[in-house]
Symmetry: C2
Subunit: 416 residues, 2 copies
């Protein structure tokens, strides 16, 4: 297509079946172009109301009595995520803890379930906290962490995985969508490779849940975790989710034996005796306000439907790639060009990516910077319009034309 | 004293130096007598406003840019708790995860720091999640969990501890204030016993933080955790805190290697390299809304001051004991009578405790039930008046007089 006019963006928005859902979100500053929905999703209007209701009515007025319905929140929110976004039947997902803690719990449980095997496999493009958690577990258990090399623009080649997974592999842990490139792995293909070797697979769905269909049950996945503050719009640091396939729940035991996993919890008996079912993967007292916010965030996605979200994500990222190709000759695409092979974000490579990121923020366009030289653009399907993409890329084009980014420091700050 | 009139309660409230702070809390129903502040603290008015501000302004409007100030929340809130309530100098406390997860992190770190020792010691009256976490760690590491017997009305006798702690002890983990009886342990005495044997000590401060002065630094404590949803008024499931003594921070390594403990976090480097200092005890992304609520809750306590809170707690629990002694002949005190040996809650023993609990709730008095036969009354010092105690005990007296509790089931429900 060659129509690069803003009118075309307006027309694409008008034809968007999800356009009305953009009104479900708080937009404080209409001038601000938010292209970082894959780092922190926008605030749904219903969430602000729900949080106020939980705080005022359930906590303030109901006080301790509200535990009657709070106690089911982790599994209720988990089932909603599972059925809406993860292809998981009820009773396999709970919302609890952080992604990091959930990764630790499930990776440790998987290693315990394969006591005669000593190798953990991940890839060098996996998200940092995943790599660190696995390093820690390997160090603590004298296991070997084998790190497969991944092309950071194009994602992991499953054939490389086939070469390293063997009869000594206990666990393979990978991200479904890569945090930098957005490259989407073939979950079913990887599951088959891992299972052929008798190992277990643990998926990080942080960048795929809510952006592409995930088929945990159908693809034969064993374990998964993911965060809720990106596409799921749960708010900053909202509790994460975890999935344990039904038939593994009784066999695997997570290492943090907490009272919310205990059978007949308020008998407060002398010995840990975990409940059957997914609640045994809970540990401490659930973060009530956070989980309520997750429920509201996911409800907006449920209304959209994951297939329409993926279609919109493809259309938005295709549009980013098209405009970047036409307007931004200094940038290289650092994301698979084939939309079936990526999630809902796009990375563009430029040696001055960090300075450009700062200039964009000043110009009221919020992207993300990722090492070493990536400008990452995450137009969340549910809350981003084609005009947002056009306006954001247009401002970027201007920044490149007048070289205004050169005023900024080349040294990345700790938090972007 | 023999004046059991309500007028005396009114006079005590009028003379209470903390009386004005009761206005800092949302009181939805003035008829409701809330005596469960040691299970879930009341909602401070400032917290409702702060949560709305974090949600609307920092998340909704600021979006990802707000991480610039969110990133310091765990240590900022930790330092506030440490300096106000725990006798801990700055840089030793962070707010993160749940009490259960923090217990696991610190207990595992302590065991790793004593690799030649194989015994963990706790007591059989420790809170269930503490016992379960330690059971799990013992099972996972082939360690022995030695459980000291405690009088559930009177608390642990430190001399019994002296008999079991020896050169093979790696870790002693105890609650500072017992969850049922309210019995307060002598922290300095226990620390000395444990350190004489070369072991480490991990305190659970869930029922003492905010109710009695805690002197972590001065008493020589090594490690501590505690929850923020009881006396600290952080809200249901709000994130917990942890303390690691300054000089132990570099030597101990917690097992969950997450990206929020990583040096130069956003360099996203290949290997885990924890920051120096207390932040290495963080794991995943902090629960921003929850920590902000903790800050507000603790600010109310800071205004009161822990010495005045303890004095008020003693006066309130003395008053409970006095009225119960006069009005409730069927109940036995299941809490140390000496106010220097207890926290801010009182347990009363009665064979029908569970049925009486239900009758009280129907009469708009909220106590707590604890196994096997305890009615637990926790008049939070900062938000409870002497008239609340008088009214609550008066309704209980009526329930006992007309035996209306006999209508209720004797079978405890899962959540009380």
């Amino acid at each position: 297509m060659t129509d690069l006019s803003r009118e075309r963006a307006v027309a694409l928005d008008a034809a968007d079946p999800l356009v009305s859902l953009r009104d479900a979100f708080v937009v404080d500053d209409p001038e601000l172009i938010y292209l970082d929905g894959n780092s922190l999703g926008r605030l749904p209007k219903a969430t602000a109301d729900r949080i106020a209701q939980v705080v005022r009515d359930e906590w303030g007025a109901g006080l301790i009595r509200s535990w009657r319905h709070w106690v089911d929140l982790p599994s209720r929110a988990g089932d909603l995520i599972g059925s809406t976004l993860l292809g998981a039947a009820a009773g396999q997902v709970v919302v609890s803890d952080s992604t990091t803690v959930n990764l630790y719990k499930l990776a440790a449980a998987a290693l315990d379930a394969r006591p005669d095997r000593s190798v953990i496999i991940t890839d060098d493009d996996n998200f940092p906290t995943d790599r660190y958690v696995l390093q820690g577990l390997a160090a603590q258990r004298g296991a070997e962490l084998r790190v497969v090399h991944t092309d950071i623009d194009d994602g992991l080649d499953p054939d490389l995985l086939r070469d390293v997974v063997d009869e000594n592999t206990a666990l393979v842990s990978l991200s479904h969508v890569a945090y930098r490139s957005g490259a989407l792995l073939d979950m079913a293909a990887v599951n088959a490779i891992v299972h052929d070797a008798g190992a277990l697979v643990l998926w990080d769905l942080c960048h795929s849940a809510g952006s592409v269909p995930v088929e945990l049950d159908a693809s034969g996945a064993d374990l998964a975790v993911g965060c809720t503050y990106k596409y799921l719009n749960g708010g900053p640091g909202s509790p994460a989710f975890l999935y344990v396939r039904d038939e593994l729940q009784a066999a695997l035991r997570q290492p943090i034996w907490g009272w919310f996993g205990q059978r007949d919890q308020f008998a407060m008996g002398p010995s840990y005796d975990p409940v059957p079912g997914i609640d045994r993967y809970l540990a401490g007292t659930p973060a009530v306000v956070g989980i309520a916010a997750v429920e509201e965030g996911v409800r907006v996605l449920a209304e959209a439907g994951i297939d329409r979200l993926q279609a919109k994500g493809i259309a938005l990222t295709d549009y980013v790639i098209e405009l970047a190709g036409a307007w931004l000759p200094g940038f290289d695409l650092a994301t698979p060009a084939d939309p079936r092979r990526r999630g809902s974000h796009v990375s563009l490579r430029h040696p001055d990516a960090w300075r450009i990121t700062q200039a964009l923020v000043e110009a009221k366009v919020i992207p993300d910077y990722r090492t070493p030289d990536r400008l990452r653009l995450g137009p969340a399907p549910v809350s981003t319009g084609f005009t947002d993409v056009w306006d954001g890329l247009s401002r970027l084009r201007q920044i490149m034309a007048d070289r205004s980014y050169e005023r900024f420091s080349g040294e990345p700050a700790r938090v972007t």
